[in-house]
Homo-oligomer: 308 residues x 2
């Protein structure tokens, strides 16, 4: 990507995860929102990462991104250890219990965009401190065609003011059901969307895990189920993988129309289905376009209904 115009820029975390699920356990595997996001998005559009890792991030880890259109100029390596997360999932796989969080080098993370990245056409602000998300927006030398943002209850409850500031700047908000409700104060998602629209984002994407995704746009709504799988081994990264497929595909389109966003939702859902079938990024790393196409075709024909 050196010197090439940056299209999709993603700011987030690159981390090491220790995971335990009913299917097994893994230690120090590649994780973090920017990792899942970029590996997924890169199947549709070139993507540049802005994140930070420590000295323990070796050539074998950089290697995961090599050979894919993922720019690493913004991936700073600094003294110290990388962000580390340790979590465990119970039988229902819906939510991880966090056992340990070591921010390490991530604690001092101040995203610094490479010059070329400041003109990116599309911007994804992964789930980090909204103060930093706002700093990223301010570093852009021109307004991206769209800005998407992910956040979590920790920031909604603890940094509401900063979050409300950055929400004013964005087009697409991606959150889960609990977060949409907590941010809007509305349990009903249609009403939650109306409240959230008034805060800035004109598009709301509600990630509902095994129940799929709900998309709210001024043009209309769309809901897609999750892709039905027989085996889910590790749900970690499903949301970021969805965001990568969804936004990676949107970054190939001229405008944010409902038809394009429906297709993007299908692709994001399909990408996430690959992620959860294996631990960490294992299946994302070896995924081919042919498999993505095959599953997207199968999924879209599965959910297709005739006109009434």
């Amino acid at each position: 990507m050196n010197g090439a115009p940056v299209s999709l820029l993603a700011v987030g975390s690159v981390a090491f995860d220790d995971l335990e699920t009913p299917s097994g356990r893994r230690e120090k595997i590649l994780g973090g929102s920017a990792s899942y996001f970029s590996l997924s998005a890169s199947h549709f559009r070139s993507v540049d990462i802005v994140a930070v890792v420590g000295e323990d991030f070796g050539p074998e880890h950089f290697q995961v991104f090599a050979g894919r259109p993922i720019g690493l100029d913004g991936l700073a390596q600094v003294p110290g250890k990388s962000f580390q997360w340790k979590g465990i999932y119970g039988q229902d796989l819906n939510e991880a219990k966090t056992l340990e969080t070591h921010l390490n080098v991530f604690a001092g993370f101040r995203p610094e965009l490479p010059i070329a990245s400041r003109e990116a056409s599309f911007l994804f602000l992964g789930n980090i401190d909204p103060v930093l998300q706002l700093e990223v927006v301010k570093q852009m030398t021109r307004r991206p065609r769209w800005i998407a943002l992910d956040t979590m209850n920790f920031w909604i409850e603890g940094s509401k003011e900063a979050l409300l500031c950055v929400l004013k700047e964005i087009d697409i908000l991606l959150v889960n059901e609990t977060e949409a409700r907590s941010l809007s104060g509305e349990r009903n998602l249609v009403k939650a969307y109306q409240k959230i629209q008034a805060l800035g984002p004109r598009i709301l994407v509600v990630k509902r895990g095994e129940h799929g995704v709900s998309l709210f746009t001024p043009e209309g709504y769309f809901m897609a189920p999750a892709y039905p799988l027989e085996e889910v081994h590790d749900p970690t990264g499903a949301g970021d993988t969805f965001a990568g497929g969804f936004l990676g595909y949107l970054a190939t389109l001229e405008s944010l129309d409902l038809e394009g966003m429906k297709q993007a939702t299908i692709l994001g859902t399909v990408m996430a289905s690959f992620t959860v079938e294996a631990f960490g990024t294992a299946q994302l790393e070896t995924l081919t376009s042919a498999r993505i196409q095959e599953r997207s075709r199968h999924f879209s024909s599965m959910i297709r209904v005739s006109a009434f």
Copy 2:
């Protein structure tokens, strides 16, 4: 329906409900699985009810079914009071807390099919004691083209043996997620379907409330979201209304193919969306074909995706 050949026969409960939801409260309103089911199904196919009510079931209650193609020859009125249920819903509306259940005349209910009903082409066994469901099956003088059954955890846990007997006789099982998991011993719904198929039913319909419906058939799977509503006033009867729309429409088709079942799922979902917008059967009672068609068109175009 007197003397006409019976097409769809529904066995279940007709009851009075006392309800409280965040939107308000109602006392002694018409409820019960057979009420919601028949009012919904009758928009697609004539339906005969087999159920029991007490002396407190007055002309104004019979009146609700009049003017619709709902046969009441099998609705026995006996000395005593009708089945009465009292429940309350919290903010999340997902599950009612039962405050009181008075079986009353329902305690002695032994379904007795009118002669004409014993040749019904299609049979829906609402959520009652599986021993009684099996008795109904045995009263049929010819095997219906399909038999559908609804049940609940109370029977799955308490009357497993009888339930397993009647499951061998049926084609379509309608349950919620918890029930599908409890019956199969599998959390994953794809695996749950495989186990349930081995018990008898070749088709599994999983009602997931606000998350929609999942349909598992030998021909393939289908998942539909719930219809997005701004106001949900009373979720009571949503499942039975869905079953009524789903099976009422299926009873107009020649065979149980996946395409037809997809359409049936859309119609069932749309019917349920009308029910939950008002208390009890209020909206079902005044529903027109035009409104059903309009919402079905809107819903199917909402969830439609282009081919990949």
